[in-house]
Amino acid sequence: MAAPLHTRAAGLDRTLFLVVPAALFMLLVFVYPFLYGLMLSFTPTEGGALANYIKFFTTDNLWPTIGTTLKLAMPATLINVGLAIPIAYQMRRKSPYQKWVTTILVVPITLGTVLIAEGMLTYFGPRGWLSQTLQFFHLYEGPIRLTHNYWGVLISLIISGFPFVFLLILSYITGIDPVLARAAATLGADPWQQFKQIYWPLLIPGIAMAFCLAFVQAFSVFPSAVLLGAPQGPTRVISIAAYEAAFEQYDYSLASAIAMLMGFVQLIIVAFVLGMRRVFYRGPVTGGKG
């Protein structure tokens, strides 16, 4: 891509200076705070270098947050990815449906988690439309409990996460040249074999990527865990613990340690998933020279 307009025998290419402000900004406002936080986490207000981490793993309302968060993020991600693959595959051909569905699905993403939480409180609440409808048809007696508990947060993770995963996987599926499936068909592959032999192996890298991004988002769930969940109980997720340490106890050192742990757990899962996909083939998704 890079074709120099005028080559110089020596000296710096002035075009490269254009990238400097952006790089500098990222170093100062993204990398530096991260490193600062990492250092800070090892310089606790009291105790040795590892005191914050020891405190995290020995305090009863801190260390279980990892499990609590995983218990929300894992099912949410699996459901979202599991639903998105067949639906996106169904819509892989360009059609008016595809355009409409993608446009509608982008709405919950842009509205964001806070608005979804407020909507869910009204709609899924014990006196909301859903509860009333179920009672009206005698499908479920008594008020349903879908807010201020585990299920409320899980549903909100699906509402905000599914469109994201779906659109991501759809863009991977539409990136696979449909002529490959046609070639398979002329060689005797029925529709199921076309999916299994052609689409599935070529999709694996994309699915792994979508899984990672969706998981990382779900793992850092914050506003919906507070607004829709039980933030002192079953949905006390790790980001709540970090927020409380920083802005309620003003222990920035502990807060940084929790943030680092949060990033670390995400990193482990991402590394695992991306490592798994290396077992499979990753390569071009178009046939021939492309």
């Binding site: 891509m1 890079a2 074709a3 307009l5 075009t15 490269l16 990238v19 402000p21 952006a22 900004f25 990222m26 406002v29 993204f30 990398v31 705070p33 600062y36 800070l40 067949p86 639906i87 169904q90 569905v101 993608t102 509608i104 699905l105 982008v106 709405v107 842009t110 509205l111 964001g112 988690t113 806070v114 608005l115 979804i116 407020e118 409180l121 009204t122 709609y123 439309w129 009333q132 509402i159 469109p163 994201f164 991501l168 990136g175 529709p191 990527m209 990382v216 850092s220 914050f222 506003p223 607004l227 970090a242 927020y243 920035y252 943030a259 990033g263 390569g283 071009p284 178009t286 492309g290």
Partner: protein, 279 residues
């Protein structure tokens, strides 16, 4: 045939799930809308009567005027600064190969892959140390962390597909760098810049975590104000909160509709699209 029946059942199920999902989202929005104009709504299917009183209440109680002004300031500053720094960087990345380019790309990619709350907490810590925390400058700077890479990732492939020979041609015909930039490059880049600006705008209005962590009482954007209103629910009438949610939703949806005139819906989400690796 057996397989045919199975395929049809699967297709029906898929459409069913999709319809159910979309219907529930639609009803959720409808519930908020109804509540915001309900005089009184307690356990019945529809409210007793309708009023726009709650919007006036929300305007006064939540100081929506001030909040909207702050939101506008933040969004304009974030979009403007991100474009100013991001477009030239994207140009350099699209046109030149240099040592360390892969690392630089990684640096621009990371803030989009790491969730905001993970890096937001150390970032807020640093900002409070520097007395930037709680000010509108802190909010703008922190919102630029995902916005700037987003501009770069949208613009780089856009610039790559513009034929570099056009620039060479302009130079051969005697245009200086500045003239070349204004007369050749800017008009060609305009559609890409517009798309990037709209995408960043929509995402900044909806960005909760970073603003929440760095904003003070008088530097809250609309979405953070909405969070505090929902958080402190019980103090105020739920209809008033829903009225505020409606204001937020309408603003976001208007900009989303404008954005969708110029960009593909998938562009709002698929921030990281893997380049197929050529063999």
């Amino acid at each position: 045939m057996n397989t045919n029946l199975l395929a049809r059942a699967a297709r029906g199920l898929i459409w069913g799930v999709m319809t159910l999902f979309l219907a529930n989202i639609f009803l959720m929005i409808a519930a908020v809308t109804t509540s915001s104009i309900a005089r009184r709504w307690l356990g019945t299917f529809l409210p007793d009567g309708y009023t726009f009183q709650w919007y006036l209440d929300a305007w006064k109680e939540f100081q929506l005027g001030a909040v909207l002004w702050v939101t506008a300031e933040v969004v304009v500053a974030v979009v403007g600064l991100s474009l100013l720094i991001g477009v030239p960087a994207a140009y350099a990345l699209a046109r030149r190969d240099f040592i360390g380019k892969r690392w630089l790309m990684l640096l621009f990619l990371l803030p989009l892959m790491v969730p905001p709350i993970t890096y937001g907490i150390p970032l807020a810590t640093v900002f409070y140390k520097l007395h930037l925390g709680g000010t509108i400058y802190g909010v703008i700077l922190s919102n630029m962390v995902p916005a700037l890479p987003f501009v770069i990732l949208v613009m780089t492939p856009f610039i790559e597909q513009i034929d570099p020979n056009l620039e060479s041609a302009a130079r051969v015909f005697g245009a200086s760098t500045r003239k070349m930039f204004w007369h050749v490059l800017t008009p060609l880049l305009a559609p890409g810049i517009l798309a990037a600006a709209l995408l960043v705008l929509v995402r900044t209005i909806a960005m909760f975590e970073l603003t929440f962590l760095t904003a003070g009482p008088d530097s809250q954007t609309l979405v953070v104000a909405l969070y505090y209103a929902v958080f402190a629910a019980g103090v105020r009438a739920p209809q008033s909160i829903d009225a505020m949610a409606m204001v937020y939703m309408v603003i976001t949806l208007i900009w989303l509709l404008i954005a969708l005139q110029f960009v593909n819906p998938t562009q709002l989400v698929s921030r990281v699209k893997e380049q197929p690796q050529g063999a």
